[in-house]
């Protein structure tokens, strides 16, 4: 290792293989009584099964069906989200941004990977990638094109760089062909990507 003796980076003392690195840290912390392995399993299971884009989709579908809810969601979302149980770590200060024919919203964190966990779960790899962090603010239309989204000239793009603890969720436009669907059916139209602004609502496959 090039900096084995670098005191400011003790991590270089751990095994280089990341899987072994986790294991070593976990072992030391467990032996000290500072980590409960069952708690690690509970955290993983929560984000694998319980907290994910299905939460955000419920909020979007509800906003599409209920104008009063939509208005309150845009004006002051936290009481509504708390009522729905979608509150917690990385979602303490939510702002919902609404797409219109004139304005399309896109969310990024150029400095790390800030993301509304209680509504969308753990971010996908592309959201955390250097390429997205570097490019989304500067060339959002090229970035969107790589996800198959092309916006007309009449639509401006507003990119939200989450540089503080405010977290953003995009409220997409409701597709006209969903006019007859109820809230439950609408949830299937709302993908994770469209709540980041990197997709548009589509019919479920």
């Amino acid at each position: 290792m090039p900096h084995d003796s670098d005191p400011s980076h003790p991590h270089s003392l751990l095994p280089p293989d990341p899987a072994l690195r986790v294991q070593a840290l976990e072992t030391i912390l467990r032996e000290k009584g500072l980590i409960d392995p069952d708690a690690l399993a509970a955290i993983i299971s929560t984000y694998e099964n319980d907290i994910g884009p299905q939460n955000g989709a419920r909020v979007v579908a509800k906003a599409w069906c209920d104008d009063g809810f939509r208005a309150r969601l845009l004006a002051d979302p936290m009481p509504l989200l708390q009522d729905l149980g979608f509150y917690g770590r990385q979602g303490e200060h939510m702002v919902i941004v609404e797409n219109t024919a004139a304005l399309h919203n896109l969310v990024v964190c150029t400095l790390c990977s800030c993301y509304p966990w209680p509504l969308l779960g753990i971010p996908p790899a592309w959201y955390k990638s250097d390429a997205y962090r570097a490019r989304a603010v500067r060339e959002p239309r090229r970035v969107l094109a790589e996800f198959g989204v092309s916006l007309p000239d009449s639509t401006a793009i507003r990119v939200w760089d989450s540089t503080a603890e405010i977290r953003y969720l995009v409220l997409p436009m409701r597709p006209p062909e969903t006019a007859d669907l109820d809230e439950v059916a609408l949830c299937d139209w709302v993908s994770r990507d469209c709540m980041i602004g990197m997709g548009l609502p589509r019919a479920p496959k």
């Binding site: 400011s8 990341p18 000290k32 790390c112 790589e146 993908s191």
Partner: protein
């Protein structure tokens, strides 16, 4: 700083010799390749150790020995070589190992040995037990604070981001102002109240809440070659980084 020195001497942030490289501040960088979309049924964690790294980081954070700001800064203090070659969760993991040592929870001897060499009786009471996980995740950590600091700007005000947007409290210290916004003129879009100021909090200097604004910039005010004349970028910016546009103009005219 010597190997094995405890975190008690670590008042000014991670390892006195380490400064953040700013490589993490990559907004607007040129040369990165295409994005790779993920299908909706892709696993939340691509590898088991990714999940372990995330869970271990959250559970260690529950020991209460550092703030979120501090842990972000620790990752930013990875050497430039490590920052660029490490994958996402390797950065988390290395930052975690470094912060555990910097705060005195673990020693470098323990990292070398791969086992515990001493007990930590004071901290074991803070160990996050599985029955407390749901409550810990769902209670979050709001950053809104009461503050005596007067909000200087109103929604609609024109503002200029200070040209030298680095941390003015700690040389080479943590900052959440992307460099691409430095010196740019924008407009206050939202006011969020006073929030914990990371420049201070990341270094154990107190929460020092400051008024926080969403400021909107024309994309064309940040870089040349805009794809569309009306495209915009919004950043959340704390008051110390902002000055009134009119004042800045009268100074330069």
């Amino acid at each position: 700083m010597r190997l094995g020195q405890s975190g008690l001497h670590d008042r000014h942030g991670p390892a006195a010799g380490a400064k953040m490289s700013r490589l993490h501040d990559m907004g607007g960088r040129i040369g990165d390749g295409p994005l790779h979309p993920e299908t909706a049924d892709a696993p939340v964690f691509a590898k088991d150790w990714h999940a372990r790294a995330l869970a271990l980081t959250l559970a260690s954070g529950a020991l209460g020995q550092w703030s979120l700001d501090r842990s972000r800064h620790q990752r930013e203090c990875l050497s430039p070589q490590d920052y660029m070659r490490f994958s996402y969760y390797e950065k988390w993991l290395s930052g975690l190992a470094d912060i555990l040592v910097a705060t005195g929870v673990l020693t470098t001897d323990e990292l070398k040995a791969g086992r515990s060499l001493s007990s930590a009786p004071d901290l074991t009471q803070r160990c996050l037990k599985s029955e407390r996980v749901q409550k810990a995740l769902s209670s979050g950590g709001p950053t809104l604070r009461d503050s005596q600091t007067v909000a200087q700007f109103e929604v609609g005000d024109r503002v200029i981001v200070r040209r030298f947007g680095h941390n003015s409290l700690v040389a080479g210290g943590h900052s959440r102002l992307p460099r691409y916004a430095r010196g740019a003129e924008g407009q206050v879009l939202n006011y969020h109240g006073a929030h914990i100021f990371p420049d201070s909090n990341a270094h154990g200097l107190g929460e020092a809440p400051e008024p926080l604004y969403s400021v909107v910039f024309l994309r064309s005010a940040l870089w040349s070659g805009a794809e569309h004349p009306d495209d915009e970028v919004v950043l959340d910016i704390w008051q110390p980084y902002l000055q009134p546009a009119s004042l800045a103009k009268s100074r330069t005219s």
